[in-house]
């Protein structure tokens, strides 16, 4: 177990200066994600253009892993399709949980999250944003919560 593997430079950087941080109004899809056990909380907003995620933003409070993971997610998905988002979700999920998992396509900076799997207690930090995005996309036709 090596801390440097968890807190890679790209994670530290995205925690310190999260990309696409802040509310998106109006949003076509929005969901709030909470890790009740640790109190991490974030909102994911998506602006859609047909099948494409024109903009993805997030806002919230949490540990470095949860903030960096959300920042990396928004960067990776901006401009991609819903189908892409699903592929990324599955790939990142495997990356976070399966020992020795080799991604089937280039995940770019998201690959920096592979160190998380050595820290089982932290996997939920890295996956919170992805589950929140899924929830947002699944419920996009419902009115956006005003919380």
């Amino acid at each position: 177990m090596d801390l440097k593997d968890l807190y890679r430079d790209v994670i530290i950087d995205h925690n310190r200066s999260p990309r696409n941080f802040g509310r998106l109004e109006p949003a076509d899809a929005h969901a709030e994600g909470v890790n009740p056990l640790c109190g991490d909380r974030l909102d994911v907003y998506v602006a859609l253009e047909g099948e494409r995620l024109r903009d993805v933003r997030f806002e919230g409070k949490g540990c470095a892993i949860s903030v960096a993971a959300a920042s990396l997610m928004t960067e990776a998905l901006k401009g991609r399709t819903r189908a892409d988002a699903q592929r990324y979700f599955e790939e990142v999920h495997s990356l976070l949980t399966l020992p020795g998992f080799a991604p089937s396509f280039d995940l770019g900076k998201l690959a920096a999250l592979s160190g998380v799997r050595e820290f089982p207690a932290r996997v939920k930090c890295a996956s919170l944003c992805w589950h929140t995005l899924n929830a947002a996309l699944a419920h996009q036709r419902q009115p956006v919560s005003t919380e």
Partner: protein, 418 residues
């Protein structure tokens, strides 16, 4: 404002911490290549060998069900089990073993009082008064019973130090207050509540008081009669005993008048389909086969603590607290959360620029175990405007060297995120 602290006596003879540590096999464990520094005692303390061996010996030589058989083993098991009830009685100075009920833990003890004492008495508009300091286990059982009865939950606020505001508490004690439920020691901040004062105010209005003593009993001498508590709940696992065992102390007259909570074996005298007669105290509240081995181990934990002496434990831990507080307060960017005038040996804090979970992971990599999160006290976190804190909670077997390692680890975390 607060009641005077227990008279400071001549400093008790300090014990040899290395000898004490040798009693706890787990403290020799290596975690990530370093000797474990266990600073999460408020979540659950560790067990001395005497407790582990008492449980093993019970299973190897004595196990049978209690209160049931005429055979030798059952009688021995019953004797061992009931002997611990007497040890608990002595430990907290209850008037009688009829007032000592074994439960699964503090949470179950509080739920028992909520469902068996409060629920049948509460009318719509009645009130239960708690404080802002409470652990979720001293909030949620009352919310449930309020929902069931139409009663209301009132919450006495705390101040910046993390002390319950007595003036506000008194104001909230109303003609409709039916029960007061307070932490004796706060699990998230370490505040030692001057409960005598709160109990006196409640009793002046005829309101009984339940104390959540989970964080008090392992660290300070507790005398339920001197406190004049009506109910007192605590857990074995926070006082170096097994998990899954706890105690509800209750004033006999109150327990006598309460209906059973759970039904089953052991809590009855006779069962006929038309009418069941319930067993006498304390068995009326102990349905089903209890955690016999756990209770036997609990007895060994009490013996161990009494062997050390609670006064000595408290003095030793207070010294560690002062050292830890000074050491951590000197770290730039570190904010202590909870600075009550009387505190148990627990330091809650946040570190600028480093989330508590990241700190927890970095410390763990160095073999240091602390708790990070909301400590099952989300209202306390909300009060201080933080989503979570890091908490180092100390026991008599901790050392200054471990606190030094903690301080160095925090510095390291600052560098990682610097």
């Amino acid at each position: 404002m607060s009641t005077p602290a227990r008279q400071t006596r001549a400093a008790p003879v300090a014990f040899d911490v290395e000898r004490v540590r040798a009693d706890f096999p787990i403290l020799a464990r290596q975690i990530n290549g370093r000797t474990l520094a266990y600073l999460d005692n408020a979540a659950s303390a560790q067990r001395p060998r005497a407790v582990i061996e008492a449980e093993a010996r019970y299973y190897e030589q004595m196990h049978a069900n209690v209160h049931r058989g005429v055979h030798t083993l059952s009688q021995e098991a019953t004797a061992a089990f009931e002997a611990v009830r007497e040890r608990v009685r002595g430990f907290i100075d209850a008037a009688s073993t009829r007032e000592v009920i074994f439960t699964r833990g503090t949470t179950e003890s509080i739920n028992l009082v909520a469902q068996s004492y409060a629920r049948p008495r509460l009318e719509p508009g009645d009130e239960i008064l708690i404080s802002w300091l409470e652990h979720h286990s001293n909030i949620v059982p009352w919310q449930l019973v309020c929902e069931q009865t139409g009663a209301q939950l009132k919450v006495a606020p705390i101040d910046e130090r993390g002390e319950i505001r007595f003036d506000q508490f008194e104001r909230l004690l109303s003609a409709r207050t039916r029960l007061v439920a307070l932490a004796h020691v706060s699990n998230s901040l370490g505040t030692i509540v001057p409960v005598e004062q709160f109990i006196a105010a409640a009793h002046a209005r005829g309101v009984p008081v339940l104390l959540d003593g989970a964080q008090a009993v392992p660290h300070i001498p507790v005398d339920v009669r001197a406190l004049d508590a009506d109910f007192y709940a605590f857990s074995a696992h926070k006082m170096y005993g097994p998990t899954g065992v706890g105690v509800l102390y209750g004033r006999e007259s109150l327990l006598e008048a309460m209906p059973p909570w759970q039904g089953g074996g052991d809590m009855i005298l006779s069962v006929r389909f038309e009418k069941t007669t319930f067993n006498a105290l304390p068995h009326k509240f102990e349905a089903g086969t209890p955690n016999i081995a756990g209770v036997v181990g609990f007895g060994a934990a009490i013996d161990y603590l009494q062997g050390l002496g609670l006064e000595r434990v408290a003095a030793c831990e207070h010294e560690l607290l002062e050292y830890a507080t000074a050491r951590l307060a000197a770290i730039p960017g570190l904010r202590l959360i909870g600075t009550a005038r009387r505190k148990s040996a627990l330091v809650s804090f946040v570190l600028e620029g480093v989330h508590p979970h990241d700190l927890g992971t970095i410390l763990d990599a160095e073999g240091i175990a602390i708790r990070t999160g909301h400590h099952c006290a989300m209202p306390v976190m909300e009060f201080y405007g933080v989503p979570a804190t890091a908490r180092a909670s100390l026991a008599f077997y901790n050392t200054r060297a471990e606190i030094d390692r903690l301080a160095a680890g925090i510095q390291h975390a600052r560098e990682v995120f610097g």
